[in-house]
Symmetry: C3
Subunit: 142 residues, 3 copies
């Protein structure tokens, strides 16, 4: 079976690390997938996906790491072209990547106890975000 779903949400730039695990679980339940995988994909070029232990310390540590590695205020050629000042957003998104695939076994996401699926918002303005979820595998018999 193959079935897709779309997750939508609004973001602002003060909260870069957003836990989407519950939203993916809800979509998984609706999909009736029993065994297989779910591909989560950021439609857009200034956000990314990964997993993290979603606790307040790391929620600040990770954006600080990004700011140190790819500073927002540096002058990128992208900014000269477009004037929207988000060259750093694009570079961070390309580095982290738009796709995450998570295994599904017995109708559940396979994740560690302290491992959450997160959307990483890198843009410098509030955005309406859209994630495509593609479920592939065997459906539950019920």
């Amino acid at each position: 079976m193959v079935t897709h779903n779309v997750i939508r949400f609004s973001t602002d730039t003060r909260q870069q690390v957003i836990d989407i695990t519950a939203r993916v679980e809800q979509a998984l339940e609706k999909s009736k997938l029993a065994d297989g995988m779910v591909l989560i994909f950021v439609v857009g070029s200034t956000g990314a996906l990964s997993t993290i232990e979603f606790e307040p310390g790391l929620q600040q540590d990770f954006p600080e790491l990004m700011q140190q590695m790819i500073p927002a205020e540096k002058e990128y050629r992208h900014n000269r072209t477009w004037g929207d000042g988000n060259g750093h957003s694009h570079l961070r998104a390309t580095l982290l990547g738009p796709a995450l695939t998570v295994p599904v076994v017995d109708g559940r996401l396979v994740l560690g106890t302290w491992q959450q699926i997160v959307f990483l918002e890198f843009d410098n303005r509030p955005r309406e975000r859209r994630l495509m979820l593609q479920f592939i595998g065997e459906a539950s018999e019920a």
Copy 2:
């Protein structure tokens, strides 16, 4: 259905960010996949895949970021072992990763308007590149 295809192209080191979206779309059309996903995979250890807004500014910003994070001229142990001077190429490729999976819905890649699939050439000499594309899902009925 499962079907694969191989994309081949030549690269040089002056152009690190290479838009392969049209090539993937052509292979998708040929595959007859309607709904599912395409896994794109770099066969080799000095290139990587991601998505980016493919415009001239970022095409220079991204290689500059790589050079700042993982300088080409630094002395890596790999270079002492092999003498080919591409330790930075391997490290960049491992950091970015060889695989990208993109959802397919209604026979089309699900991508943002300003989001292209790119091959990242990190090697320090021209290469003949080979990408494996693996399509999985439901075929179109036509």
Copy 3:
């Protein structure tokens, strides 16, 4: 067909780059998958997956790169919260990502000659590691 398998192994922190290619090949053979893909996923938030040319130089270069980009001794907010001193481990794992998908054609992993699948151990203490392998595609007819 969809079938999963679990790979388990012990790690210590002196060896960060661990070649798991042979373990994945063994699980692939057992799975009877002929064409499709294998999703490899780190269950946990302080390890990651990628590919690399698994030679002694890069086995040291890569951990040195991580230490330069995300130093272990820096004071992260995560460390103040939990006191386990592994904030750097979490950040490195989120940056690299927990998932790797590798194409399978004719019952074999599609990899370059000098390209191995590696588990990246980022934690600061020995761990019992668990990787979920999810195989999807067409079974061999035999």
